[in-house]
């Protein structure tokens, strides 16, 4: 059977379809509850996916995250509280529309343009990833070294407003990656004679701590008022959406393309895609003065952008093993656990698995239309779930999940330590995403550097001798120069003026 048919058979298996449907409802629920994010949804899924075959495991993550990013729009529009950070960019705007009596229009736009953005992003993923993989097959350790450095650079430059703090987070992540014996010399580093640390700090408990336990801590100390809906009964949410699509075709396409691109850059995910897209939309709008007063244009564009960013993030993740955002950082961990190691060879050796992932992406987007409609209609009931009962249950789930990976109580300690760390970092405005990227990519960075140095006999110039490696190297160095040049030019301007 050819790989495409095999892929369809893999996905259209009753077990896989049930997993997709269940994770869809799970994702919609997590995204719709303020304080629970799409990344947290993924981190909580991992212990369960751990026990599944590869395709349903990946399907669960893909579906749950796509749904969560959409459903984060609902509390934004109805309570001015974004359900996930990806909806924060336009929560004020959406709420203003609800206030004007346009709740149906804005909720429908959130749904329909999420689906369109997701479909466009997925189409780009389907075409870009295999062709990139063909190029990547020729890559040696030199190219991979620069790719990782460029990826980590992006993570600091895009994901944080403060370069020093972004760099601190990244270095912390790289330091975490050095723990254990998994280095080219197999020498135990920072293990403090604990056998549990010989294999390094386990990624999953660390992620569950950073993204779930930290949220529970944040909830525990929040003195936020109880959640109150602006409106809880809705008419048809699909009325007027066709007109919006005809009115803003450029914005839809621009948002989807920009979202995919931002998603593909390491360190920047759906939330940053939405912020950038919203700003771009305002800049190119014919009526920028309407932005902020309850105008749908920015929501169309950034709503499409945050869902397309999810697909975009999978491009570098599948092709190079370099995650495009925090969600794919977790997903890569799952792929390794499932012996579906990302990298260009997976496209040649196991194309049916990759095609199956693509099919799941399309199913998830299409499923979003009916299920999203149900989520909006039943939102009043969803909100009745008391968060102070939910959080302790999530904590128990986290604890068992962290334990389950290695059957180790040490990992519960790891989860706790990183939970507190994530909480402190966020409160002090240190970005968390670079920690994850550093921890995930540290090994790859070191391994490719050492291999290259041995190949080159210690000659640093060989890092620039191959055409693609040289180009990547020069681009990376240029990106590093940007803040220095900006700083000097600012100083020059101050001196002259």
């Amino acid at each position: 059977m050819d790989p495409v048919h095999t892929a369809f058979a893999l996905v259209f298996d009753p077990y896989v379809l049930v997993v997709i449907l269940a994770s869809a409802f799970y994702g919609l629920f997590i995204g719709a509850i303020p304080g629970l994010t799409a990344t947290m949804a993924t981190a909580l899924l991992v212990p369960v996916t751990f026990f599944m075959p590869p395709i349903p495991a990946v399907a669960a993550i893909v579906t749950a995250t796509a749904m969560a990013i959409f459903s984060g729009d609902i509390p934004g529009a109805l309570m001015r509280i974004p359900g996930t950070p990806a909806s924060a960019a336009y929560a004020d705007e959406a709420y203003a529309m609800t206030k004007k009596g346009q709740a149906e229009l804005v909720l429908g736009a959130g749904l329909v343009f999420s689906v369109i953005g997701g479909l466009i992003g997925t189409t780009i993923l389907v075409f870009a990833a295999p062709s990139l993989a063909e190029v990547a097959l020729k890559f040696s350790s030199f190219e991979y070294f620069w790719l990782v450095v460029l990826g980590l650079t992006c993570a600091i430059f895009i994901a944080s407003d403060n370069l020093a703090k972004g760099f601190a987070s990244l270095t912390l992540g790289l330091l975490v990656a050095t723990v254990g014996m998994e280095n080219p010399a197999a020498y135990p580093r920072y293990t403090f004679d604990r056998p549990e640390l010989a294999g390094g700090i386990t990624l999953i408990p660390m992620l569950v701590g950073l993204f779930a336990v930290s949220e529970i801590l944040r909830f525990a100390v929040s003195t936020a008022p109880t959640l109150k809906l602006e409106q809880d009964r809705f008419g048809s949410i699909f009325r007027g959406q066709w007109k919006l699509l005809k009115q803003y075709p450029m914005a839809t396409v621009r948002g989807s393309l920009l979202g995919t691109a931002v998603g593909a850059l390491p360190g920047a995910g759906a939330d940053i895609a939405a912020w950038i897209s919203y700003a771009v939309s305002k800049k190119f709008s014919k009526t920028p003065e309407k932005f902020g007063t309850g105008h749908v244009e920015g929501i169309v564009e950034s709503g499409a952008a945050n869902n397309s960013a999810l697909s975009g993030a999978w491009i570098p993740a599948l092709v190079f093993g370099i995650p495009g955002d925090s969600i794919t950082a977790i997903a890569i961990g799952v792929l390794y656990l499932k012996n579906m190691n990302p990298g260009p060879t997976i496209f040649m050796e196991n194309p049916q698995n990759i095609y199956a992932v693509f099919i799941v992406f399309f199913i998830a987007q299409l499923l979003m239309l009916p299920l999203g409609w149900i989520a909006i209609k039943t939102y009043k009931q969803v909100l009745k779930v008391p968060r102070n009962v939910l959080m302790p249950l999530i904590l128990l789930f986290c604890t068992v999940g962290a334990f389950a990976i290695n059957n180790s109580v040490f990992d519960i300690g790891v989860m706790l330590a990183f939970g507190v760390l994530g909480w402190l970092l966020e409160a002090n405005r240190f970005p968390v995403a670079p920690v994850i990227l550093g921890a995930v990519l540290g090994h790859m960075l070191e391994e490719n550097f050492i291999t290259s140095m041995i190949k080159a006999d210690g000659n640093v110039w060989s890092f620039f001798e191959r055409p693609i490696a040289g180009t990547l190297g020069v681009v990376t160095l240029l990106v590093w120069m940007v803040p220095i040049v900006l700083r000097l030019s600012r100083k020059g301007r101050v001196a002259h003026g």
């Binding site: 760099f167 330091l175 102070n388 009962v389 302790p392 249950l393 334990f403 402190l424 210690g458």
Partner: protein, 158 residues
Amino acid sequence: MTVRVNDVVSGVLVGALGIAALTIAQSFPEIPGEPGPALFPRLAGAGLLVVAVALVLGGWGGRNAAPWVEWPEWFSHPRCFAAVVVIVAGLAITALYVETLGFFICAPLLVGALLVALSVRVAVAIPVALIATAVVHAIFYSGLRVALPWGLFERFAW
């Protein structure tokens, strides 16, 4: 919100971590002719030191604008304080003692204590904690075959 510190303070903490990383890395062996296992830890340590200096210098300018350490509001709020203590201490106790005490003691205590700390009525908290423990045990132990420790209940193990 949690404890907020001035950038000078976070810089000092980051610097201390950098120095610790570098000190430990001193004992890592060198491999003649190629970069050894000490290189990356040293780079990471040095990187942390550089950032520490940047944070301290950056924070020094605004040291009067922000206090050294800003204790959050919830510190004087017994309910919030209790919730944080329950989460941190509860997880620490679970990590340390779940193998001796068993999942059936640690899990309901962790969930129940946090429920109560988050202002759920005791009459609700107890059944919720017990049911949650049973459900999670059924899913992970019976369903997914995770070896959740029995501890004191070892002889009842199935």
